[in-house]
């Protein structure tokens, strides 16, 4: 089939030096993607839905403690461990470089959840339910996932489709993806981040602002990590899932020193 589409490879760079752990991305994701409201019960049963979550780590001993935050979302791996285990081909990597989850094809075997090393896939153990006053805030562009299927971060694919329509509408002709640059499209978490810790762009676009980080990490793999010129690294690089998300290490000007009384 002839196509006028150019393959994109969307990716994200998370600058941990800028992340303050404010959870704005979590709230934005929750609102954009029609996630059910997490109650205390959900958390206690370890069944809370958070397509993007802030993992918090404590460093040092009291009173010399520092909090470290890592936003973890679906890594949109190139070698995704979740994909080959799906018996119904409900999750696959599409031409936009996204690992997509097709909800109506999913039968809920949960193999993908068990095989995901990042724990970013969630199973709907219950029919999602919202209080009456929140029903009008649901996003009409996103499917409400029913009970018994798996869901995950989609890089807000509904926003990508909307951006494509916008490009078509303005240009007045069939979509030519060269016109669709990173500026047209960003996921809700990136848009909501107050410190611009999340950067979003196209890995195939040479002018994209995330491109240098990907070039650097791709050139020097896990065995040559010390030769990297940027602070970039990937989560669980040693298992070679090749995620589309790169984290930039935190540079601590005042590292914790157990001997000093650092306050």
């Amino acid at each position: 089939m002839v196509t006028n589409r150019i393959d994109h490879k969307w990716g994200m760079v998370v600058d941990l030096d800028k992340c303050t752990g404010c959870q704005a991305c979590v709230v934005a994701c929750q609102a954009e993607n029609n996630l059910p409201i997490n109650t205390k019960d959900f958390f206690l049963q370890k069944r809370a839905y958070e397509w993007i979550r802030i993992e918090r780590y404590w460093e040092g001993e009291y009173p010399n403690v520092k909090a470290r935050f890592i936003p973890v979302l679906c890594q949109h791996c190139e070698n995704a461990p979740c994909e080959p285990v799906c018996p119904v081909y409900a999750t696959y990597r599409n031409d936009d470089g996204l690992n997509v989850q097709i909800y109506n094809r999913c039968v809920g075997t949960r193999y993908c959840i068990n095989n995901c090393p990042y724990q970013v896939r969630f199973f709907n153990f219950w029919q999602p339910n919202w209080p009456e006053r929140l029903k009008n805030q649901l996003n009409p562009d996103v499917t409400i996932r029913t009970r018994g299927i798996t869901e995950k971060c989609t890089f807000c694919v509904q926003r990508l489709r909307r951006a494509e329509l916008q490009v078509e509408r303005v240009s007045g002709e069939r979509l030519n993806d060269e016109k669709l640059k990173a500026g047209n499209y960003a996921p809700a978490c990136t848009q909501a981040c107050p410190t611009n810790a999340l950067m979003f762009g196209d890995q195939n676009d040479a002018e994209s602002k995330i491109r240098p980080y990907f070039d650097d990490v791709n050139t020097f793999d896990i065995h040559h990590e010390e030769e990297r010129t940027t602070r970039g690294y990937r989560l669980l690089e040693e298992i070679n899932t090749r995620p589309s998300i790169i984290y930039l290490k935190k540079v601590d000007q005042y590292p914790l020193n157990e001997d000093e009384d650092h306050v």
Binding site: Y103, N104, L165
Partner: protein, 214 residues
């Protein structure tokens, strides 16, 4: 040990139950579940509003009321304010009793506006919740481009001269709505996924799952 007849009966009952469940789930799907017009809260005759002037209508364009149809995914039903564009004048206060319009129904629209009470129209064309149909892209396909003849796998599958006007492109899937007193789906219109995918493949449209399922 059960008698053999009883075992046979039980097996027949189980098999019959499964067949009934499958049949219900198959025939209640969109291509079969459609076909009859649901009762609407206010009798809105498209014949009067969208019908051509020769046939006694007013000849309003589809996209005048369904404003979003060329601008986004959903066609949208108009707000009550849109009705009042005209019905501020055409109503029981300003018209004589013997005018051909149905003043009683119009008064219900005006009442809804005065009470700030939106009209809860019943949806006629249903798709499952996991499918997102984008009106804008399809209308752009049918109304733009050079002159060409195509056979689309929708409606009566006759060769069709493209490009169409916006109003004509609505009728391709929705039938002649301007001639319907009560809107009902076009007979024989398949809403199976195969129909969508066939047309997308022949016309070089994207076939990625997330185009529709997102």
């Amino acid at each position: 040990m059960l008698p053999l007849v009883l075992v046979g009966l039980i097996v027949t009952a189980i098999v019959g139950f499964i067949i009934v469940v499958l049949a219900i789930s198959w025939f209640s799907n969109p291509p079969f579940g459609l076909g009859n017009a649901p009762p609407q809260p206010i009798a809105f005759p498209h014949t009067v509003h969208a019908g051509s002037v020769d046939q006694g209508g007013v000849g309003i364009q589809c996209e005048f009321c369904h404003r979003n149809v060329t601008k986004g995914e959903a066609a949208t039903v108009p707000a009550v304010e849109n009705c009042l564009f005209c019905h501020k004048q055409i109503n029981a206060e300003n018209q004589a009793e013997d005018t051909p319009v149905n003043l009683a129904e119009i008064q219900r629209v005006v009442d809804r506006f005065n009470d700030n009470n939106p009209i809860d129209w019943e949806r006629v064309h249903r798709l499952p919740d996991h499918v997102r149909f984008v009106h804008e892209a399809h209308i752009r396909f049918l109304t733009q481009g050079e002159s060409r003849t195509e056979i689309l796998p929708i409606g009566d599958e006759q060769p069709m001269q493209l490009p169409l006007t916006v109003g004509e492109s609505c009728s391709v899937c929705h039938g002649n709505v301007a001639g319907m007193t009560e809107v009902q789906p076009q007979a024989g219109q398949s809403l199976k996924m195969g129909t969508c995918v066939d047309c997308h493949k022949t016309n070089n449209a994207p076939t990625d799952c997330t185009i529709c399922h997102k």
